[in-house]
């Protein structure tokens, strides 16, 4: 049965340093994406851009419980996951801009950011694409006797694709160290997920595949942190996979070019009123934190600088288009 974590209790148990760290991560994600959106609208960023504004609590609350050796897989809306796992904003911006020095040398863009050096095994342009990869990574780590665990982020739209069933069954079967995180923002692209999803939902689906878990208010980062801490402790203990179901809300459209006129404005206002960052900020102020504004300002400043740097950065050498396809049988010219 899903347990509901109450934020109050967990929050009071949290020390100020941890809350501050969460706040720092969340404001950095927010600033990153707001800056990226502006840059995209200004024509500085090519291709599609999927932002997760409003969902920052999930990435921050989960990843604060991970070590560098732990791995994550992500989906098409992965900036927050990458930043929370420790990827550098500057190299992410370079990648968004398609410049030299970006994480993928300009080959990936927003939808394919990865930083293997911090255990971020990549965003993915295919819905559920990260699920089989995550369970395989966990299987490999187990084989190598590593202590690391894997966190697999996906959206509520992903639970209607076959690999969801296959991957959870697989992880439970081989008792793999995976935390599945369903970021449930209620929509899949432009469609309300409830309108295309039968049955009682992701928790029941997971339970039927042998994966138990916890459902949490994803906009309450303290609750997310507590639930993730609890579940990851279980996963590290070797009990097999677990699921974290985080209910959240996406403030914006599907991509940066989707003005989201189709969204109910009342719903959007309500979500903004319950902003996860504002909620944490109140808590921090209540707990006597002095530097809250400074953190947000630093985040904004950092991202503005990243944007400018990316804008000024050189394009990749066109010849690099031929690199990193394969060692044997690589082509070198048109």
């Amino acid at each position: 049965m899903p347990k509901k974590k109450s934020s109050e209790k967990a929050g009071s148990g949290h020390n100020l340093a941890r809350l501050t760290e969460l706040y720092n991560t969340m404001t950095r994600i927010r600033a990153f994406e707001e800056t990226a959106l502006t840059a995209h609208k200004a024509g500085e960023i090519p291709g599609p851009l999927h932002v997760s504004i409003g969902q920052e609590g999930v990435a921050a609350g989960v990843c604060i419980n991970l070590t560098r050796e732990d791995r994550i897989t992500s989906n098409h809306r992965g900036h927050g996951h990458a930043l929370a796992k420790g990827a550098e904003a500057s190299r992410m911006f370079l990648e968004l801009f398609g410049r030299a020095g970006g994480y993928c040398g300009g080959k990936g863009g927003s939808m394919h950011i990865a930083d293997f050096s911090v255990g971020m095994l990549g965003a993915n342009g295919v819905v559920t694409g990260g699920i089989p990869i995550a369970v395989g990574a966990a299987q490999g780590l187990k084989m190598l006797k590593s202590k690391a665990v894997v966190v697999c982020f996906f959206g509520d739209g992903a639970i209607n694709r076959g690999p969801f069933l296959e991957g959870l069954n697989w992880a439970a079967l081989y008792n793999l160290p995976v935390l599945f995180v369903c970021e449930d923002n209620g929509v899949a692209a432009f469609t309300a997920t409830a309108s295309v999803t039968a049955g009682p939902g992701v928790m029941a689906r997971a339970a039927s595949l042998g994966v138990s878990g916890v459902s949490v208010d994803g906009n309450d980062v303290v609750a997310v942190d507590a639930a993730a801490a609890h579940l990851l402790a279980e996963v590290r203990g070797g009990v097999g996979p677990r699921l974290l179901h985080a209910k959240t809300y996406r403030w914006t459209g599907h991509t940066s070019t989707d003005a989201a006129a189709w969204r109910d404005p009342v719903e959007v206002s309500a979500a903004k009123a319950g902003c996860p960052i504002a909620r944490l900020k109140s808590l921090l102020i209540e707990r006597g934190a002095a530097n809250v504004e400074a953190i947000a300002q630093a985040a904004a400043g950092e991202m503005t600088a990243c944007r400018s740097a990316a804008h000024a950065a050189p394009w990749p050498d066109p010849a690099t288009a031929f690199d990193d396809v394969q060692d044997v049988g690589a082509v070198r010219h048109v």
Partner: protein, 325 residues
Amino acid sequence: MIDVTLVDAGRLAVQQEMRRDPRVWVLGEDVARGGLWGQYRGFLEEFGAERIVSTPISESTIMGAGLGAALVGTRPIIEMRIFDFVMCAMDELVNQIAKIRYMFGGQARPAVVVRMPHGMWRNSAAQHSQMLESWFVHLPGVIVVAPSCAADEAGLMVSAIRSDDPVLFFDPKDLWLAADRMPAGEIQPIPFGKARRLHEGGDLTIVTWSAIVPKVMEAVTLLAAQGVHADVLDLRTLWPWDEAAVLASVKKTKRLLVVHEAVEVGGFGGEIVARVIDQLGTAHVKVARRLGAPRLPIPFSPPLENQIRVTTEKIVAAAMKAARE
């Protein structure tokens, strides 16, 4: 003539056929909302939620359910959003749709249209830009359609919907929203397997299709300015393809250049070259060559993408070489 984009042309064709035949319907993600490009705009209002069915993100079942619905006598248009996601539904397409009539000795008629916008769509990177149309030419049991202009999008769509064979319909993503014109009034079906001659010339034959066609035509203008006159055939359908038209043209020009956006290695250009050589003999052909993309995934960054794209300049250079060699 009316001013339309290719999206409009496709929409008008589907709408006309849905009005004509109540068995025709559409299933796919977000289609009730009008589809990703508006190719089904207004359909929910006109045809209702039973005939314009927004589905879960379940590509295997979108494809497979379309087949099942065809087996009981409806005529589904299976919208796959973009071609790359067809990789999530290949068993249903390759092992079921393409083979079911044959395996069952003719009992099954999988009269589906599988709509798969394909190819580059600026800076969408490796998982949203693929062109693998040549794969399906190699797959028995299916028809492969790849239009490049509004009139063909419309006329071939009408044929596809009326076809009792399964039709793989590749909308050209990069041209999808380009301005174009087509005849007003009822859309007439365009038969499969007939190429469209885009330019007459005696110096070389250029065979091409899909999103690259406008670039080929730019190149042809530049070539003409330099005194090289190309015979240009837009195949429009890759299976069946208009071998007769290609052979007739190469008989005249003795020089063949196939231009496609997809990777050159293993692309459909090889098939065309091989057939032409086989049918005409090497003694009657001076040049037979292809121009396609290098064997690389599609990169994201504009200069990288440009580096590997088939451009007008590359087409001019290749055509020049083929004509003069």
